[in-house]
Symmetry: C2
Subunit: 231 residues, 2 copies
């Protein structure tokens, strides 16, 4: 499949929020692409040769040339297809720097500590490990206030780069609530993000692309059981 | 001090390669700025209020507005002062994505594992911990081949983004050699990077800005003694 004269292929995995970021970005840009689901326990030669350094999804292959890592791919798509669909990265260099800063914060602090907490063996241990995650959520709430300036999205009136970066996590946020009653974004700790999750979840692009929550819950339970068996 | 109508202040710390990256970028862009040395054991109110999230150097303050994190600052400088001095980020979106990919690799793989190895208590333990660092150096050697395409710098004929990202480490590379006889880039493992270190070290901007190696050795020895005393 192609968009104009461009051939776009995406190597992804349905439960990966990093791959979902790219799918959301492609959708908000209105770009058509061929989606190739990877089996991460038996990676394809195309994945291994396209991302030999990290051997991870997502990889976007644009006219035969691979681009790796979700933040980099989303910036790439937005730069190459400027003027098509939504503009994701802010046009102003200062706001662009702030968007990149918060995207790095999202991955290096919030997401990294959340992944760490998921490795906790008991609910008590998980809750203790979640403390830096909740602190990061409060900081991200301030980031939303700064970026949205009272408007509905990180990107302002329209969805932007950070909406895609954070929004790809929304299904996992719901899955954590279904599994442990854990509300990562709630009305008391992060009222703006809590309202934003509802708003973002109702967009057509989001509804079409976010993984099914029941399937995610099953997947997370299966992964946890595998990890426990391996220890 | 100002550059045109712009007021640029940089909060840095002499031994920080992240701060040196920004100083190199400002120098290759031909921008004047006020440099403010931070005492990291007693951080200034300006640092704490400019980077409340990470409380780290470097912070560039441009007309009163703070920009944090070395990769983001260097991109910001290059975007705002386009056409002034060298262009650091490649103009082509694909090459730009590759430059960002290698910069992330540099920090997340090479530098992260090198910092980890420095914490080894004996020379033997350090050497064991350095294995992923040396593997990352071999990958970075391939990155140099890819980016330079036979020309002298990552940026091609001129210094570019990755020269600044990797080049800020050159004094630390020499300091590690002086302290432990450890050659991170050597003629057998990474001949291209080894020759590039010589080439980059001889540039006027580099000579003016890279920290003094003897001072770095003293600083590293002092930090190691402090860490040992704290354990």
């Amino acid at each position: 499949m192609a968009s104009g004269g461009d051939e776009l292929k995406l190597l992804g995995m349905w439960a990966s929020p990093f791959a979902v970021r790219v799918r959301l970005a492609l959708s908000f840009k209105g770009l058509r692409y061929e989606y190739i689901e990877e089996d991460l326990s038996n990676k394809s030669d195309l994945l291994l040769s396209s991302n030999p350094v990290h051997k991870k999804v997502p990889v976007l292959i644009h006219n035969g040339k691979p681009v790796c890592e979700s933040q980099i791919i989303v910036e790439y798509i937005d730069e190459v297809f400027r003027g098509k669909g939504l503009s994701l990265i802010p046009a102003d260099p200062y706001e662009r720097a702030r968007a990149r800063f918060w995207a790095a914060f999202m991955d290096d602090k919030l997401l990294a500590s959340w992944v760490q907490a998921a490795r906790g063996k008991t609910v008590e241990e998980k809750m203790e490990l979640l403390k830096p995650t909740f602190a990061a959520v409060e900081t991200l709430e301030a980031a939303f206030r700064e970026c949205s300036k009272g408007r509905p999205f990180f990107g302002g009136d329209n969805v932007g780069y950070l909406d895609v970066m954070v929004g790809a996590l929304v299904a996992w946020v719901h899955a954590a609530e279904a599994r442990h009653g854990l509300k990562l974004f709630d009305a008391s700790r992060s009222p703006l993000l809590n309202a934003w999750v509802d708003r973002f979840s109702k967009l057509d692009e989001t509804k079409a692309l976010l993984p099914d929550i029941r399937k995610l819950v099953e997947y997370a339970n299966m992964r946890e059981a595998q990890a426990a068996a391996a220890n």
